[in-house]
Amino acid sequence: MSSRILPEFELLPHDIDEAVKMLGLHQGKASIMAGGTDLLVMMGDGFRADYVLSLGNIPDLAYIIEESGKWLRIGAMTTLAEVAESKVVQEKYTALWQSAAQNGSPQTRNMGTVVGNLLRASPSGDCCCAVLALDGWVVLEGPQGRREVAIDDFWLEYRATARRPDEIAVEVKLPDVKGNTTSAFRAMTRTTLDLAKLNAAVRLDMSGKQCENARVAIGAVAPTTIRVRKAEELIRGKEINEETLEEVGKVVSTEVSPIDDVRSTAEYRRTISGVLVKRVIEEACKGV
């Protein structure tokens, strides 16, 4: 054999309704595949899925639609490369653009998806971090119809999401941003291809030099990507200057609960987390 043998799986629905029915039939035993860059690797690594349901034959799931004044909607099969090539995403949702454009390699960007990154629910997911900062919503389709879950409520614990076993995530949507909103993302990796040992994203709603509202997200420091609400409170309603950034840096380090693993140590992550958030805020401020 030229390559490892995958388990047999036969679920290849042609539309969302058929997919939801198939999931209902195989309650909890089916894994959903979008780009395949996570699932097929996990299966090669010994993860056993009784059934794999591929979204690859469902048409019209790859889109980036801007509903002006409302939402930016990104379909479940939209690849990271398509997001990285989008001018709208680059200009208005910079954090997401950065998290997609720097993600993995050109090949994996041509295959992997933003929605897949959210569903994998890894604490080091780059798009997870950006979508959390940008206040995204995950749109799920199930037997009872459509429902939307705020990204704040989407990750329940390490690699667990609010998606029910008979639901499919069909889209992620981000609230429209005004001209005074800016965002940025940064990942720390050993090489560019590596998973992040630490990543952070912020969205700032500015009024001149004053920050009216902020969302600060940081990854690889807890079982899921988290928001640092104490840091957000520190900059809300204030001018962002060296003094506020100094305080933000200190508070971030006390709000994270990192672990030691192959990519880094808990101590390093804790020490650097404040610095990383500070730099991401500075970068976002340049974008105003």
């Binding site: 030229s2 047999e8 036969e10 679920l11 097929l40 090669g44 591929s54």
Partner: protein
């Protein structure tokens, strides 16, 4: 075992096969179609040895792609680059620069280089290194690979007006 009738093109030749859903594109290309120029490296999306181009210039990993999803797609492997016995300028440049050691990464490296130059005909060294991310050379012969891409970029620029004329005549 359920199979799906799937029609796709490899190196401009049409194939219709009954493929079980779980077969990867790599398995079908190598084992069913004997196209052993596509290599199996890590099976985990890290080495790029199994890279093929889809619809002209989009590199993907054939080891992580289900073959049944390739319906109607045009796939290029490194064997499809030569035209009428003439090597592709990128292949030529790899030979000239000696950018090949054990050769295992070469099919992926060459296809990836073609995709880099399709998008950006005159890349900087940084563009080339960034573009080659996702393709690993176990012999660590990166210097010569980068030089080969630079050489191919110059060769393509020199030959492209002529090629267009030739294309126009046909």
């Amino acid at each position: 075992m359920k199979t799906h009738s799937t029609t796709f093109f490899v190196n401009n030749k049409e194939y219709t096969l009954d493929i079980p859903v779980h077969r990867t594109l790599l398995q079908v290309l190598r084992d069913d179609l004997s196209m052993t120029d596509v290599k199996y490296g890590c099976g985990a999306g890290e080495c790029g040895a199994c890279t093929v181009l889809v619809d002209g210039d989009r590199p993907i990993l054939s080891c992580l792609t289900l073959a049944v999803l390739m319906n109607g797609r045009k796939i290029t492997t490194v064997a499809g680059l030569e035209k009428e016995g003439e090597l592709h300028p990128v292949q030529e440049a790899f030979v000239e620069e000696g950018a090949i050691q054990c050769g295992y990464c070469t099919p992926g490296m060459v296809l990836k280089s073609v995709s880099i130059l399709e998008k950006n005909p005159s890349p900087t060294e940084k563009d080339i290194r960034r573009g080659l991310e996702g393709n690993i050379c176990r012999c660590t012969g990166y210097e010569k690979i980068v030089k080969a891409v630079q050489r191919a970029s110059i060769a393509l620029a020199a030959s492209s007006p002529v090629k267009q004329k030739e294309g126009g005549k046909v």
